[in-house]
């Protein structure tokens, strides 16, 4: 093995800095899943009849489905009967009216995670809908947003206060029958975010959400729905973190975005779930269905994500470009280290005329990580003048990891222009030596080069996320050289 391989070989992530558990009384269901559990869940949340029926339909369909097989991802079978489908911190039973009423232990948790609600209230003015173990804790700035006409609340709250909106849009982008995990999610989703931006409104602040999984064996089934009415605009940030655990934890979320005429949604994610220790033990399974539908003309959506966590990631944020001139963008940095496995990518479905999509995917593989990009660019018969540009680059660090690219490009329209490029590279011994001879330590050199590699994606992130993302990448690759 060459000397630089030895350097790169020592690439082990730093201690997962968020590894801790909050000791709080939980009002949880016993493990197990059947119709009664769903009824109980729905009742606990005081949901209307239509929603219970929707859940049950999904559940019955889920029972008929097979677990998907993914070529490059290996994991132990999940026993769905061993998961508890509801867990809420006891103090949440009556719901807080303001931050002051929130359980101080919870607030302490958020402080540890670096999201002190008080500070956020004062400084950035970012509204935070902190989801803690399947129940929303506090929704900040609700009133301020409400003035602008923006609805930003927990999903559970939306069901109670805006049932007509939920009924109109729920499941219209990702139906209960879409795939195995979407069906499961539809049946047992616990909570999530609901955002509604009315006509012509530009949301005055960036909206963000923090998720956390706490109790063992509690699958997290989040459901998010964002509706951008004609001419509206919103930027939504999703940042996740989870505590250290020995048993694998399941995260099967569904995110639906509806973009109407002339509207725009920018959805950014920095994902930092526990990836498992250096031997591949523990870690979150992240199986997510995210889809955006550009229903109106000139609608625009961009998915930007930086993924460094999870033991296993299965995620294809997609865009259906129905409206003429609609635009879909996907910018992603995915890192797999130690024994992480990722099978991710995007689907761009061109249906309307003059639609365009851009895909920039950067994969970094280190340790024994396996990083697979799976993308679909599909141009329908009537999608005249569709344009797609895709660039997939892989950076390999060390010789035990793998980087795979499986794009599917399907075109039925002669006036469409599709360009796809992919390349693979490594940080060469020469590059490292060159930087070191200029006095830049190997670790800093690796960090510089990796950040240079990811630049195109980082610049699409909202500012504070970009900073967090760069730091996150650095931490994930720390201890790699020297």
């Amino acid at each position: 093995m060459s000397a630089s391989n030895e350097n790169i070989e020592k690439m082990i992530g730093q201690e997962y800095k968020d590894g801790f558990v909050t000791e709080i009384e939980s009002d949880s269901f016993l493990p197990g899943l059947n119709e009664d559990v769903i009824r109980a869940l729905s009742a606990k949340k005081e949901e209307p009849e239509f929603l219970l029926e929707w859940r049950l339909e999904a559940y019955r369909h889920w029972l008929t489905m097979d677990h998907p097989e993914w070529a490059f991802v290996n994991f132990d079978k999940i026993d769905f009967q061993e998961i508890s489908y509801y867990s809420a911190p006891k103090s949440m039973d009556d719901g807080p009216k303001s931050l002051d009423e929130v359980d101080p232990t919870l607030i302490e948790t958020y402080n540890k995670l670096g999201i002190p609600l008080e500070e956020q209230m004062r400084l950035a003015g970012v509204a935070v809908d902190a989801v803690f173990d399947s129940v929303s804790v506090a929704t900040t700035f609700k009133e301020k947003l409400y003035e602008a006409g923006v609805i930003f609340c927990s999903f559970s709250e939306a069901v109670k206060e805006h049932p007509e909106l939920i009924k109109q849009y729920l499941g219209t982008v990702v139906s209960q029958y879409d795939n195995f995990y979407a069906a499961l999610n539809a049946a047992v989703f616990s909570d999530g975010s609901f955002v509604y931006i009315p006509k012509g409104v530009r949301c005055p602040m960036e909206l963000s959400t923090y998720f956390r999984i706490n109790a063992a064996n509690t699958g997290q089934f989040e459901r998010t729905l964002i509706v951008a009415e004609e001419g509206s605009h919103v930027s939504y940030l999703e940042g996740c973190t989870a505590p250290m655990r020995d048993e694998n934890q399941l995260h099967a979320a569904v995110v639906e975005l509806v973009i109407l005429k002339d509207a725009e949604i920018k959805y950014s994610t920095v994902q930092n779930w526990y990836p498992g220790d250096e031997n591949g033990v523990g870690g979150i399974y992240n199986f997510v269905t995210k889809r955006a539908e550009c229903r109106g003309d000139n609608a625009k959506v961009s998915w930007t994500q930086v993924e460094t966590g999870s033991a296993i990631t299965w995620k294809y944020p997609s865009v259906v470009l129905k409206g003429d001139n609609s635009i879909g963008e996907f910018y992603s940095v995915a890192l797999t280290n130690n024994y992480q496995q990722a099978d991710t990518g995007t689907k761009m479905i061109h249906i309307g005329k003059n639609t365009s999509s851009t895909i920039i995917s950067k994969g970094i593989s280190a340790g024994h990580g396996q990083n697979t990009y799976r993308g679909l660019v599909k141009v329908g018969r009537h999608a005249e003048n569709a344009r797609n540009y895709t660039q997939c680059d892989s950076l390999l660090m060390g010789d035990k990891c793998g980087a795979h690219t499986f794009p599917y490009i399907e075109s039925k329209q002669p006036t469409a222009t599709i360009e796809h490029e992919a390349s693979t590279s490594k940080i060469s011994e020469d590059q490292l030596f060159y930087c070191m001879q200029r006095g830049i330590s190997a670790e800093d050199a690796v960090s510089m080069i990796v950040n240079g590699f990811c630049k195109e994606v980082f610049k699409e992130l909202p500012m504070e996320f970009a900073v967090e993302a760069q730091a996150l990448l650095g931490i994930s690759l720390e201890g790699s050289v020297g």
Partner: protein, 250 residues
């Protein structure tokens, strides 16, 4: 400042340097000439600390410290600079970013404060003007898409920003036309100083017309077979390397 004593180096099991002795004092310019395969580049890489070389015997001291004990970046901070024969491309990393990171590393090691951003940019731009380099190069990725001459000038730019005490130029003249050679040489000459030393590794005498050495050494088959003043270079030019090898045998 630099004392190389009885240095023996093996590469992939083969002996490349077989007992090098060399002393370079502050302010001196030494040229190391030799035929291909003589071990010239090896010597440069050894000074910079590149991996893949086995030092079987000998020592190198730099400013009184054991150079071989120091890591690559420590040597850089201590003042060793290698101008690469083939400067490496580092896509995604801009020139200005790398220069700043490098300079701050040196300053930190020497107990100095980091440079203010404005001062830094102005300083660098000034040096670029001296080297007749377009400012645009600052924001391009290191050496990416640069022509041969541009890459070499970039090396000299880095050298002038980092202000090292020992500059090792590895075949800097290779691939340069006469104009580029003049500019690069001027850049080097501007840096000559009583506290700074240069080791010019070169195959051809041409470079030495522009950068006048104080001492010339001939490296052949891993050993310094002859040393002399600048006139030695001219003799080599006239008679070729075999003359030295023959005279060594005799």
């Amino acid at each position: 400042m630099l004392k190389i004593k009885n240095l023996h180096v093996k590469v992939e099991g083969k002996d490349i340097l077989k007992g090098i002795n060399l002393e370079v004092n502050a302010g001196e310019v030494h040229a190391i000439m030799g035929p291909n395969g003589s071990g010239k580049s090896t010597l440069s890489y050894i000074l910079a600390g590149r991996a893949g070389y086995e030092i079987t015997q000998g020592s190198i001291s730099f400013h009184g410290k054991d150079l071989l004990e120091m890591s690559v970046e420590e040597r850089a901070w201590a003042g060793v600079f290698l101008a690469f024969q083939y400067p490496v491309e580092v896509p995604g990393v801009s020139n200005i970013y790398m220069l700043k990171a490098a300079l701050n590393g040196v300053r930190k090691y020497n107990g100095l404060d980091q440079l203010d951003a404005m001062d830094f940019i102005n300083m660098v731009k000034g040096k670029m003007r001296d080297l007749d380099m377009d400012e645009k190069f600052l924001y391009r990725a290191v050496n990416e898409g640069f022509s041969g001459g541009e890459k070499k000038r970039n090396e000299i730019l880095q050298m002038s920003v980092l202000e090292p005490s020992l500059c090792v130029l590895d075949e800097t003249d290779s691939g340069l036309d006469i104009d580029a050679l003049k500019i690069v040489s001027e850049g080097v000459n501007r840096l000559r100083d009583p506290s700074r030393s240069f080791i010019l590794v070169t195959h051809y005498q041409r470079l030495l017309d522009y950068i006048k050495p104080d001492f010339v050494h001939v490296l052949a088959a891993g050993e310094i077979v002859k040393s002399g003043g600048p006139e030695l270079a001219l003799e080599l030019e006239a008679k070729g390397y075999s003359w030295v090898e023959d005279s060594k045998e005799s």
